[in-house]
Amino acid sequence: MKDTVIHATNTIAIRHEMRNIARNLLEIQAVDLILGWKKGILPNKSAPAFIHRPDQVDDLIFDEFCYHNLTKFLLGCPDRQDRIADNEDRLKTAIFVKGCDSRSLIGLIQDNQITRENVYIIGIDCPGLKEEHNTTILAKKCETCYTATPVEYDILIDSPDKRPENPNGLKGFQAHRDLAKIENMPPAERGAYWQQMFQSCIRCYACRNVCPVCSCKECCFDQTLPNWVGKGNNTSDNGFYHLVRAMHVAGRCVSCGECERSCPMHLPVMLLNSKLGLSIEELFDEPPASMNFDVTATLNHFKPEDPEEFM
């Protein structure tokens, strides 16, 4: 449903178009909620905005600090879930998405968590975000992202500032900056590296909570029956948590990098996802997750001719 493209020449123009589109949608009562970004309280941190009325649309902004992937706000909202179930012809929700966000939106639609018809998707060509603490450099989470243009939208705000396509196409684009370094470590050093990482983790679950493809109603790590993992903060259980989380998002991770960005301990959480993402590419010759609606999650199907290593 890639309908309309609106051209904007610079960020001011993008903001202008955002507000126009939002105002129009609310005024014609096509939607009753718009998820976007607004100026944050802290410097260099834009905040999510929830726009209900036309007079709020001037809060909307788009700048180099709009880190938040808003798609997860579409979940956990029974009122909206209800619409999915009874297919009532009620108002939609509109959402602003960057390229990476749009992939996670496809992921959530594939996971039957959102119905495509119930959301109005406003895509923004993303120029790449900036580090919060050093506004001259590209945000780390954007290093693995080359989907500057959203892969799904109802309307797109096109901009000449958008980040160029990856010259290598989709091949290898999920590679984390530090992946090769870790892979080249001797096994013992690698073990020690992870040992240290799991030791440093405080199990705040920020990486899980922010992850746009973590959409379970009740996470297995919160369960006590069965007690998959100890609830305390210790290296062993932290390790279990990180590995299992990596397996759970394997083939579904859209490499938006939010897990790593939100980690208060600055742990390279994305490394595990990146490793699995590249393994999937190499083993099964599949495109990265949720680039379109056609390919389902890697662990949801198989090919009889998959590589054989277990004879």
Partner: protein, 671 residues
């Protein structure tokens, strides 16, 4: 308070010679939850089982571990035992200390330590066992037989005779199948039609059989006892109720030169036709492709001459859905396309024909009225060469397998040539002669000794033509491996014994109805020896050559066996299902649907769940009812593999009998 009883078996000396059974039983007493532990020479024996039952009563045990042989051996035995002792049969775990311990180790201390660990694991698991209820599903007392050849007819008759209703679906206009095309049957040389057509009539007149001709199975939903089958009745353009089967339409049809499938294209038929005179039902159908009206918009002669007003050019395909308790698949076989063997000149030389074509040539009701005439010029062939294993036992171009019936029918053909044409020669090229059946070897020897059939051992390398007109003949060049030299045989006609192979759409059909098939696309039986007519899908059975190459006696026997299985199933009002199935915790299920594609039995689907939402939510009022989708497992379809449980990240799906908790407890038990 959970009370586990541990029972250690010596298995005579099988276990006790390598494992200290007394020590093992003693050590088990110290395990948490174990209230009683003992050992005995033969736990599976009557006194052994009595001991378990008595211990359950005496010590108030609520779950049992038996340390003995493999659960594959005696799990059922001990389940029955504790069932009669008053426990739920699934409150049992087996520690396999024979096959996986005492028999594979010799160091008694180490083996005892390992056995201790195995008991430990079993105790840890059994503490998490839950009583599993047997559930019952109703059985719909109607059977479907797919395929109206001899296998399908026999199965239908056998089921119908016991009082259950059977629908017999056939895709051709008439039932009868390949057997109707055959002239005589080995080794008795009965006329095939003489033994088949009475059965066809029986089937058509049986009060419990409904023949659904010219129809195909489109879809099978549901599960054992409750299959919902969609059948496509193909448009025949003739109202079978009104039609009296007088045959006037076929007589008057102007398009008469259509090659007849039934006659293997050696004869012709009109566009409105019944495949053969003894067809059942004997109601014609219009072949749309070749009908003058459908091609040009003009004609309708058949409609005009029909006194019953049965011809309906507006007829459409029709879908009907019927519920069945059991299904017999008897879709038969087709013949290998021997044009692959270019050097045999099939299609190129008219006088190189297949065995089935020979059956039509020699059949009294066939295109030549039973006179053997070669197709090219209708003269009587004097030298007839037969080539066996065309497409069978040939890895390079055909199939690896032996088609089983060819040796016998080739012997039959050769005998018939010698019998009907007194001054003829019948020469058979063969690789081996396989006659494993009652009176088969005798039949083959009679051909050689009484009828003078010549057997030449070796493969034919080439067939080519020589001469013109009257003198035209085929030269068969091959090697006589017994003499070790090339032979050249003059032949007036060559008959190829082509391989039996699955129907071209067999694999697709198998997927459609949910049964498995082998590397050759023959349908797979559940066990090659012990469950030869069942499939791995409960309630679906196999009969005849769709399962593998077969001759008529074997096909009929298998059809009877399949019918017996169907009757055994239908005779129950409801059937007990295995309680080891996946179970959904709808509170945890987010409805992501990852379990759905991973299930090979299509047992999981979405269902709507209505629930009341409490607590604070971001939008909307609380305490209101919302509907959401959750996974739902159909217990009738689920076979308990547990693949779905691993794809469920939230652990909302669990496999009863092998729950996440049970397996984690086993892993943890040794530390």
């Amino acid at each position: 308070m959970k009370k586990v009883g541990v029972f250690v078996c010596h298995c005579g000396t099988n276990i006790s010679q390598t494992v200290h059974c007394e020590k093992l039983a003693e050590a088990a007493k110290t395990l948490p939850g174990v209230a009683f532990s003992t050992e005995y020479k033969y736990m599976c024996s009557d006194p052994g089982q009595t001991m378990i039952k008595e211990a359950i009563a005496e010590h108030g045990l609520d779950r049992v571990v038996v340390a003995a042989c493999s659960p594959r051996m005696h799990e059922t035995t001990f389940r029955k035992c504790i069932d009669s002792g008053g426990l739920n049969p699934y409150m049992l775990e087996i520690a396999n200390i024979r096959e996986q311990c005492s028999w594979v180790h010799s160091d008694k201390d180490k083996a005892t330590a390992k056995a201790g660990d195995l008991v430990n694991m079993a105790v840890a698991k059994v503490l998490k066992n839950e009583q599993l209820p047997s559930s019952f599903i109703p059985v719909h007392k109607r059977a479907l037989v797919i395929g109206g050849g001899i296998a399908g007819i026999q199965a239908a008759l056998d089921i119908a005779d016991t009082g259950y209703h059977v629908d017999l679906v056939e895709r051709e206009p008439s039932i009868g199948g390949k057997m109707a095309q055959i002239d005589k049957t080995f080794p008795t040389m009965d006329c095939s039609a003489c033994i088949l057509t009475p059965k066809m009539v029986d089937a058509s007149q049986h009060p419990n059989i409904t023949i659904i001709p010219y129809s195909e199975v489109e879809k099978v939903d549901g599960y054992v006892g409750n299959f919902d089958v969609t059948i496509r009745r193909k448009a025949s353009y003739v109202d079978s109720v009104k039609c009296t089967g007088c045959g006037l339409c076929s007589e008057k049809c102007p398009s008469k030169k259509i090659p007849s499938e039934f006659e293997c294209n050696l004869g012709t038929r009109p566009a409105i036709y019944s495949p053969f005179p003894q067809a059942i039902p004997n109601k014609p159908v219009i072949d749309r492709e070749n009908c003058r009206y459908f091609k040009t918009g003009k004609c309708k002669i058949c409609a005009r001459v029909c006194t019953a007003d049965a011809v309906n050019f507006e007829d459409q395909d029709e879908m009907v859905q019927i519920r069945y308790g059991a299904i017999v698949v008897a879709t038969g076989y087709t013949l290998y396309d021997h044009s692959q063997y270019g050097e045999y000149g099939y299609g190129h030389y008219k006088d190189v024909i297949s065995g089935l074509e020979f059956e039509r040539l020699v059949n009294a009701s066939g295109p030549t009225m039973g006179k053997i005439k070669r197709p090219s010029d209708n003269t009587e062939p004097k030298n007839v060469v037969f080539i066996k294993c065309v497409g069978s036992r040939d890895k390079a171009r055909g199939h690896d397998y032996c088609s089983r019936a060819c040796c016998m029918y080739t012997a039959k053909h050769a005998t018939m040539v010698r019998d009907k044409i007194k001054d003829s020669q019948a020469i058979i090229f063969y690789m081996d002669i396989r006659t494993p059946g009652k009176n088969y070897e005798e039949f083959y020897l009679r051909g050689v000794e009484e009828y003078g059939v010549t057997y030449v051992r070796g493969r034919v390398s080439r067939i080519y033509e020589e001469g013109e007109g009257e003198n035209r003949k085929l030269i068969v060049q091959g090697e006589d491996t017994l003499l070790g030299k090339q032979v050249f045989v003059d032949a007036d006609m060559v008959v190829l014994a082509t391989a039996m192979e699955p129907q071209p759409d067999a694999a697709g059909f198998a997927r459609k109805i949910g049964i498995s098939y082998d590397q050759n696309n023959f349908f797979s039986e559940a066990h090659p020896k012990l469950r030869p007519v069942e499939t791995l899908s409960a309630g679906i059975y196999l009969a005849g050559a769709c399962q593998g190459p077969k001759d008529i006696p074997d096909t009929v026997a298998q059809a009877g066996a399949a019918a017996a299985k169907v009757v055994a199933l239908l005779s129950k009002d409801e059937m007990e299902t295995e309680p080891i199935v996946a179970k959904v915790d709808t509170d945890r299920c987010s409805g992501c649907g990852f379990c759905i594609p991973i299930c090979p039995y299509k047992a999981i689907s979405f269902t709507d769940l209505t629930e009341r939402v409490h607590g604070s939510v971001a939008w909307g009022p609380t305490g209101k009812e919302v509907k959401r989708q959750v996974a739902n497992v159909n217990n009738g379809l689920c076979q308990g593999c547990g693949a779905c449980t691993v794809n469920c990240r939230a652990g909302a799906l669990d496999l009863l009998g092998f729950t996440n908790e049970q397996i984690l407890a086993e892993v943890d038990s040794l530390w």
